[in-house]
Structures are given as C-alpha cells and as structure tokens.
C-alpha cells in the first residue's frame, strides 16, 4: 500500500529515515524543475531544492498535518525561490538563456552548440529549440509571483486553494494573477499561439 505524504512525514517525525528518503524520491524532480524554472539556473535550482529538503527534515519534530504536504513543501520552495530571484548576488551568477553559444538540450541542460552540420533533421532541431527557448523566455519575463503561480498551476497541478496558500493571497487574487500571467504569455507567444490556434 502506498503511504501518503502525510503518513511519510509523520513517520519521519517518529525517526524513520527511510520515509524521508521516500519523500525525497517522490518530490526531488518536481521541486528541481519548479525551482529551475523560477531561478533559471540548474545548479542554483538544485542547491535550493536541497535546502528545501533540509528545512523539511529540520522541521520534522514540529510537523503537524494541518495542510497538504505539497502546500507546505512548495511554500518553502516558493519563498526560497522568490528570495533567491530578488537577491542580486544570485542574479550575477545567472546564465542567460540568450547566450549565443548555448542551446537547450532535451534534458534541459545548457550545453555548447555542437550539432553535426550534416544532421538530416538539423533544421527541425533548430526550430524546436528556438520554440522552447521562446516559451522559456516568455515564462522568465513574467513577474516573479505570476511566474510562481503559473508554474504551480500548470506543472505541479496544485488546486487554486493550495496555490493561494503558498503565495499567501486569496483565491480570487490568485485567479486574477493567473489571468494576467496568461494574458502576458499570450502576447509574448503571439506567433506560436496564432499558429497553434490555426490563425497563422
């Protein structure tokens, strides 16, 4: 039987280290992805994700299952990400996705542009890469709180009540935040949107 997050966390509270390892296994990928899309730097995203897990572990003795585990987890992650984004020390270390010598690989790594010249699908690859780059760039251009809302809503599939708690706002404020974010994305991605909706 699969134990719920809350059950695992209560077991961690009781001193079961194996349950912590299961939580780590369950949430490392969503957390790293969320943080990567928030801070735009993989190494920094992993550092922040480690910090999130460490804080969860440190808080185990005081853990009370009053809210969903994911709400608590992503609230810690969001706060860390927002602080990090606002921190100018980190901004200096950020790697711009616009750097001309890099390209986003399938796994999201930033690697040097090293494509064989006679690759049959080179044009297709470049088009796909440009498309992904444009989408990422549009997300990155969103104000931090809108970006967090979109990521939590779209990729983590959290419900409105959870996201509102994480971002410390009302549900109606969150819906307004998400609407404005999608409006910005619609404008930013207009060429792709027009093509996708068959108006190109």
């Amino acid at each position: 039987m699969v134990r719920t997050d809350v059950q695992l966390m209560l077991d961690v509270k009781a001193g079961d280290e194996a349950s912590f390892a299961l939580l780590l296994q369950r949430y490392r990928t969503p957390l790293v992805n969320f943080l990567y899309r928030m801070v735009r730097n993989r190494e920094q995203a992993e550092d922040l994700a480690q910090e999130v897990f460490l804080r969860v572990y440190r808080a185990r003795e005081d853990y009370v299952p009053s809210a969903k585990f994911t709400t608590w987890l992503f609230r810690i992650a969001t706060n860390l990400a927002l602080n990090s984004v606002r921190d100018t020390r980190y901004q200096k270390l950020e790697v711009s996705i616009d750097a001309p010598v890099t390209i986003d690989a399938e796994d999201g790594d930033e690697k040097p542009l090293d494509v064989p010249e006679k690759h049959p699908n080179i044009e297709q690859h470049l088009v796909e890469d440009a498309r992904k780059k444009m989408i990422r760039h549009a997300i990155e251009k969103l104000p931090e709180k809108q970006r967090a809302a979109v990521l939590l809503h779209k990729y983590e599939e959290l419900d409105y009540a959870e996201i509102a708690k994480i971002l410390n706002c009302s549900e109606s404020a969150l819906k307004s935040l998400l609407f404005r974010a999608y409006e910005s994305l619609r404008v930013e991605l207009a060429p792709l949107v027009a093509r996708a909706s068959g108006r190109a």
């Binding site: 992993e46 994700a49 440190r58 796994d107």
Partner: protein
C-alpha cells in the same frame, strides 16, 4: 455572465477545473461572445505550449548531497530524553550518593571533648583564670606603670598621724 466575470473562470474552463454548473455558465456566455471564444482558444494554445518544456532530472549527486546534509544535522534531544540517562550512569550516581552518606554519618571525625563544652567545668576554668589578673608580677612588669611618678607615701603617713 459578463466578459469581466469570465476572467476568473476562463483558465479553470481551459484546464477543466470548473464545477459542472460553472462550466455550463461559461459555455452559455461563449456561445454569444466571439472575443471570449477567441481568448479561450488562445489560452488553450498557451497552455499547450507550456507543455512543450522538457522536464529535467536532478543530477545523480542530488540525493547523496541531501542525505549528507541531513546526516550532518545535529541530533536533537528533548529535555526528557536528556533526563533518560543510561542505567549504568544511574547505578554509578546511586553508589556515589550512598558512599557520601556513609562517610558523612559513620566516618565523621570525633571532636575532642573540650573543657568548656561542659558549663560547670567552663565556669571553674574561668574562675581559675581570674587569678592571672591578681598576679602582681605581671602588673609590676607592665611598662606604662613604670613611667608613673612614685606614690607619695610620707605625706600620707603624716596626715594619718595628725588625725590621730
């Protein structure tokens, strides 16, 4: 439903998160509002575009680093846990206490019986010591007394004879 009210529901409609009653209300509005229909299409396209971003996997060292951080955490012990010492320590402390009590009550050094511990003897001793004050040798050797002028013995004798 107005177009303004659609703002709070359009994304829920696109993602299929609305309640049945809300969904029907939105669809009723969309049937008569071309701009909102267009917006729904565009939001749906945006949502599909967001799906295209790849998912990255944490590096292989990620778990190792997290476990190392957790292992480096100091072990927290509650106040009660601190009180729950091992049986050996409890035994040693009890033995030490017993030893202290034994030394305290049975090995106390005997205090010498001083003469003045008995009130009668103390009084007798004091009376005995009073003789020191009557010791003329002591008084005659007292330096300040030597500096006094000699007593006028002759005058005193003549006065007594005249009275007689």
């Amino acid at each position: 439903m107005s177009c303004e009210r659609m703002e709070s529901r359009i994304l829920g409609y696109v993602d299929g998160r609305l309640k049945e009653s809300e969904r029907k209300e939105v669809e009723k509005h969309l049937a008569s509002c071309a701009p909102c229909r267009l917006r729904v299409e565009e939001f749906r396209a945006v949502s599909e575009l967001l799906d295209e971003l790849p998912v990255i996997e944490p590096s292989p060292e990620f778990d190792v680093r997290v476990h190392a951080l957790v292992a480096a955490e100091p072990v927290k012990q509650s106040w009660w846990a601190w009180m729950r010492v091992s049986p050996r320590v409890v035994f040693a402390a009890a033995m030490l206490l017993l030893a202290m009590l034994w030394f305290g009550f049975y090995q106390r050094p005997q205090t010498p019986q001083l003469p003045w511990s008995n009130p009668v003897e103390a009084d007798a001793q004091m009376m005995k010591d009073l003789g020191v004050l009557e010791d003329n040798d002591l008084l005659s050797n007292f330096e300040p007394l030597k500096e006094l002028p000699p007593p006028v013995q002759a005058e005193e004798d003549s006065e007594t004879q005249q009275q007689m």
